[in-house]
C-alpha cells in the first residue's frame, strides 16, 4: 500500500469521532506482565506492568527491605549452549525500555525485579522468550551443499551482499526525497503555476499607459469548510456558508502583511475552532 502514502502534499483530513469510537485506551490492565520484543540484532524492546497484587505479595515476603532494592531488568541469553545474564537499571514506573544487547543472535528472555542489598533478587515479572537475528553471514557451512569459498563470496556479492532495505519505507522515502528536492529548487511558492487559466493566472484589469507598459497584480483565495449549520466569521465579520458548509473568498493582495482570521462556532455555541493565515507580499519594480 505504501506508494499510496502521498508525501507531505496531502495529509489525512481530521474527521469527527466515529460513532463506535471507544475513547482513550486503558493506561494499564491490572495484570502483571513483562514482554520483550526483538527490534534488530542488537536491540530488545521491553514493556511491563506491575499490578498491585504483585507488590502486595512482594511486601509480604520481603517487608521494608523492598524499599532498599534496586529495580532492574535481568536479561538472559542462551547461545550455542552458553547462557548468561546482565542487569539493566530501570525505573519500574518507566514501563518500557530499549535494551542494547552485547551480542546478536541467540535466545533471550528477561525478568523484572529488585536486587536487595544482600544480593537477593525479588522477581516481579518474567517475560516471553524471543530469538534475536544474527545480523551476519553464518559461520556454519553445509557439507552436503559445499561450495568453494571464492564462488560463495561471488554469489554473496551478487546476492546483494547484505545491502538491506529497499522495501515499504523506501517508496515513502523516495517520494519524500523528491518532494524535498522540489522544495529546494523552488524558491518561490510551492503552489504550482498553471498552464491553463488558474485563478491566479488571470489577467488583471489593464490600464493603458503611454509607450511600453506592464501591469501585474496578485490575488489570494482563502477557502475551507465546516459544519453547514455553524456560524463563521472572517476577519471579524460574519459570513454566509454555502449549503454544504464550504466557503471561498478571493481577494486582491496588496503589499504588506495581511491577516486572515477565520473563526467557526458550533450552532449550540459551545464549540469553536479558529485558523489564522498571515500572508506577506513584497513588490519590487524596476524601470
Amino acid at each position: 500500500m505504501t506508494s499510496h502514502v502521498n508525501a507531505p502534499s496531502s495529509g489525512s483530513a481530521p474527521r469527527p469521532v466515529s460513532p463506535a469510537s471507544a475513547g482513550p485506551l486503558p493506561k494499564e490492565y491490572g495484570v502483571t506482565r513483562l514482554v520483550i520484543l526483538p527490534r534488530d540484532p542488537r536491540w530488545i524492546h521491553a514493556y511491563w506492568e506491575v499490578a498491585p497484587y504483585t507488590w502486595d505479595e512482594a511486601r509480604k515476603q520481603f517487608g521494608d527491605m523492598l524499599k532498599q532494592g534496586r529495580s532492574v531488568l535481568r536479561v538472559h541469553s542462551s547461545r550455542s549452549g552458553k547462557s548468561g545474564f546482565f542487569d539493566v537499571d530501570v525505573r519500574v514506573d518507566a514501563r518500557n525500555w530499549y535494551v542494547h544487547s552485547p551480542e546478536p543472535d541467540g535466545d533471550w528472555h528477561a525478568e523484572l525485579g529488585l536486587v536487595l542489598p544482600d544480593g537477593r533478587f525479588v522477581l516481579l515479572a518474567i517475560s516471553n522468550r524471543i530469538r534475536l537475528p544474527a545480523g551476519q553471514v553464518s559461520d556454519i557451512t553445509d557439507e552436503r551443499w559445499g561450495v568453494l569459498q571464492a564462488d560463495w563470496e561471488r554469489l554473496f556479492e551478487l546476492s546483494g551482499g547484505g545491502r538491506l532495505g529497499a522495501g515499504s519505507l523506501d517508496v515513502v522515502k523516495i517520494l519524500a526525497q523528491r518532494w524535498e528536492l522540489l522544495r529546494n529548487v523552488s524558491s518561490a511558492s510551492l503552489i504550482p503555476t498553471s498552464p491553463g487559466g488558474a485563478s491566479w493566472g488571470r489577467m488583471p484589469s489593464l490600464k493603458k499607459e503611454k509607450g511600453f507598459w506592464l501591469v501585474a497584480d496578485t490575488e489570494v483565495i482563502v477557502y475551507g469548510a465546516t459544519e453547514p449549520d455553524a456560524s463563521l466569521t472572517f476577519q471579524g465579520h460574519p459570513v454566509a456558508l454555502n449549503p454544504d458548509g464550504t466557503f471561498s473568498f478571493r481577494f486582491s493582495l496588496p503589499d504588506g502583511e495581511q491577516v486572515f482570521p477565520i473563526h467557526a462556532t458550533h450552532r449550540d455555541g459551545d464549540l469553536s475552532r479558529s485558523i489564522e493565515f498571515r500572508v506577506t507580499r513584497r513588490s519590487h519594480k524596476s524601470e
Binding site: 496531502s10 527490534r39 537475528p133 554473496f156 546483494g160 498552464p195
Partner: protein
Amino acid sequence: MSDPQGYLNLVLHAHLPYVRHPEYPDFLEEDWFYEAITETYVPILDILERLASEKIPFRLSMSLTPPLCNMLSDDLLMTRYRAKLEKLLELAEKEVVRTRSLPAAFQETAAMYLGKFRRVKEIVDACGGRLLTRFKALQDYGLLEIITCGATHGYLPLMIHEESRRAQVRIAVQDYQRHFGRPPRGIWLPECAYAPGVDTILKENGIRFSFLDSHGILFSKPRPRYGVFAPLYSPGGVAFFGRDMETAHQVWSAEQGYPGDFNYREFYRDIGYDLDYNYIRPYLHDDGVRRNTGIKYYRVTGRVALADKEPYVPSRARATAASHAGNFLFNRERQVEYLKNVMNRPPLVTSVYDAELFGHWWFEGPDFLDSLLRKMHFDQSAVKTIHAVDYLQKFPEHQIAEPEPSSWGDKGYHEVWLNASNDWVYPHLHIASERMIHLANVHPNAEGVLRRYLNQAARELLLAQSSDWAFLMTVGTARQYSEKRTRDHVGRFLDLFHRVQEIRLDEGFLSHLESIDNLFPQIDYRAYQSAS
C-alpha cells in the same frame, strides 16, 4: 524448446489496509483504494488479459491480500468506486475540451486519460464490479499465481502468542478459498517479516512457499550455497525465495531507478492544485481542500522546480518504458549468464515489488511490465518467467536452513514497526490477543449471538493488528488516522470482551460493529483456540 539458462520469478505485492467507512458519505482515506483500482489493479489486469488473449505465455505471481480481496468484493466500496470513476470520467471529458486551446502535448495527454478511464470503466462494468473473478480466471489459466498474506497484514514477529500468528494465517487461507475456489499455495508474509516458528504455522495451513528479503536468506543457518539464486527449505518444510537486490535497485533506487526518468510523468504536479478552484471544486472532497485528482500534465523534466516542469508527452513516455523493459531484460540475460558459471544449476532471480508502485507512483509501470513480458517471449530464450511451485517441481532438491529473522523494511529488521512512535500499540494488541485466545478456549462451541460476538471480537483484533497502522505512525503520514484506527479497534474489542464476560450480549451494539467492520463474513473465531 531448449531449457533457458535461468529463470525470473516476478512477484507483485498488492495490499491496502481495510479502509471502509459507511458512517460517512465521503471519506478521504478510502481514496487509497479507489486510486489503486484505477491506476494499478485494473491496468495490470488489462495488460495480463491482453497478453493471455494474444497467447503470449507469461508467469507472474501476485499477492492479493485478504483486506484487499475483501474491499474488492464489498458492495458499498465498489458502488462508491464506480461513482468516483464516473466523476473522474466527467472531469477527463471536460479536460479534453479545456485543453483544445493548449499545445498539442496537453491535448494528447488529456485524450490519453480519457481513453484510460474509459477502458477502466469498460473492464469494471463487464464483470459487474467483481474484479477478483477476472484475476481468478488468469490464475485458472495457469498464467497468474495468486498468493495470500496475513489476514490483515499483521506483523507476525511482533506477536507473542502462537495462536495469534496462526489465526492470521488460517483466516487468510479460509478467505482465499472463498474468493479463488482453491487453497493458496504460497503466501506473502506481511512486510516479508519472519520469525522462527512461522514456517511451521505456514506448513500446517498447506502453504508451500514464501518470500524473504535477501538477508533473510543470506544470513540463514547454515550458509546458503546459492545465495538468493535458489530457494531454501526451512526446518518446518516451507520453501523460502530470497529477493534479488539487483532488480530491486533498478526499479527502486531514487537516483538510478527507472521511475525517475525525465520523460516519465511527474507525480506532484496535479490539476487538483493547478486549476481554478471553481472548476476543480466538484471533483474534490466535501471539505473542499485541493488534493490530487490523478490528472497530471507534466513530466519529471529534471531537477527543476514544479513550476518549471515541461509538458508530458505520452508517446515519448511509452517509448521510454519500452526501452527500460529492454534494458531490464538485457541485464537479466547478463545476470543469469554470469551466475551459471558459479552455480551448477540454472539460477533463479526473484524480483518482488509493491504492486502499487506500478501505475500509481510510476505511472508508466504497467507499460513497462507489458513490454517486459512481451520481449521475454519474442526477443530471447535465455531467461524465462516461472512460478515458484513450478520451479520447486522442476528442482525439488534444496538446501535446508533456518532463515534469518528479518523483514523488508528499512534496516532489514523490525524497527519500522517498533520504535518510539508506535511501540505504545503492543501492550494493547497483546492484551487483546491474550483475551481473544481466552474467549476461544472457554467457548469452544458457541452458537447464536455469542458466536457472533466472538467472531466480531476476532475481526476487531485482526483489524487492530494491521501492520499498516504502525507503519504510518513511523512515516508520519496519516498518523492521526492510523492512531485512531488502532484505538478504535482495540477499544471495540475490549468492549466486546467485557460484554461477553459480563453476559451482556446486546444485539444492537453487535449489529452496528458487524455493519462497519464487516470483513471476513465467514470468519470462525475458533481459529484462536490453543492447540490441544
